[in-house]
Amino acid sequence: MKIEARHEQGVTIIEPKGKITIGVGDVALREAVSEALEAGARNILVDLGGVSTIDSSGIGELVSAFTSVSNRGGQLKLVNLPPKVTDILQITQLISVFEVHDNLSEALASFS
């Protein structure tokens, strides 16, 4: 799994690509969110468009990231969910917990 972070319009965009699964991808996601928070980011957008597989550990990391960002007064939102990621969030009723956007411009605008 590869993960990149960049900044646009005051928002930190975290873009994991590949598998967010136990032992590898979940740890990388946790570190990326932690680094963003430590750097002062409070508006975080996770772009899941390049994610091929996510398991319960990956979902758990998204939930942990959401809680960590919220506890610091920030917002964590999701964008570009592949259908299988949407499905797995729906099964555990987490789709209603996250604010989900269909495209990047709409997601960025939602922070302002």
Binding site: T21, I22, G23, V24, D55, S56, G60, V63, T67, K84
Partner: protein
């Protein structure tokens, strides 16, 4: 003709990085049996969850303890067995991940996902120790030739 002997049998040390190897091998076997892409994805997630639980909760990530995975075809069912060498666990203690108080917990969704993606899950203990998780999935038009 039904195949009753395992088509795949693979053992790994208890390391999470080995899960990909199991998934590749089982996915290839399921593709040859005629399972479509979507079904293979979800069965693959269920197997990942079962093996991750065996490594984490069963074998407590002891790399000297093995996890064995078998894939067998009986009739029109794919049957996957995941066996660890751990102390076992009480299924009654597993919490409902949909309960409002659990919704934002980072853990506890693996068994729920397995139940959703497979037709049937069964847990049993071996007399010599360890837990056996048996996952069953019906495959329409299965190819056993």
């Amino acid at each position: 003709m039904p195949v009753e002997e395992p088509q795949v049998r693979i053992s790994i040390g208890s390391r999470f990085e080995h899960i990909d190897l199991i998934q590749v091998v089982v996915d290839d076997a399921l593709e040859r049996l005629g399972l479509d892409d979507d079904s293979r994805h979800w069965v693959g997630i269920a197997i990942r969850e079962a093996v991750a639980n065996a490594i984490k909760h069963g074998n407590r990530q002891d790399p000297d303890k093995e996890v064995e995975v078998e894939l067998a075809i009986i009739g029109d069912q794919a049957i996957i067995r995941v066996v660890d060498q751990g102390e076992g666990f009480d299924l009654q203690e597993v919490e409902d991940p949909l309960a409002p108080e659990n919704l934002l917990k980072p853990n506890g969704r693996g068994i729920f996902y397995m139940s959703n993606f497979m037709d049937e899950i069964e847990y049993s203990s071996r007399p010599e120790g360890g837990t056996v998780v048996t996952l069953r999935k019906q495959i329409a038009g299965i190819r056993t030739d």
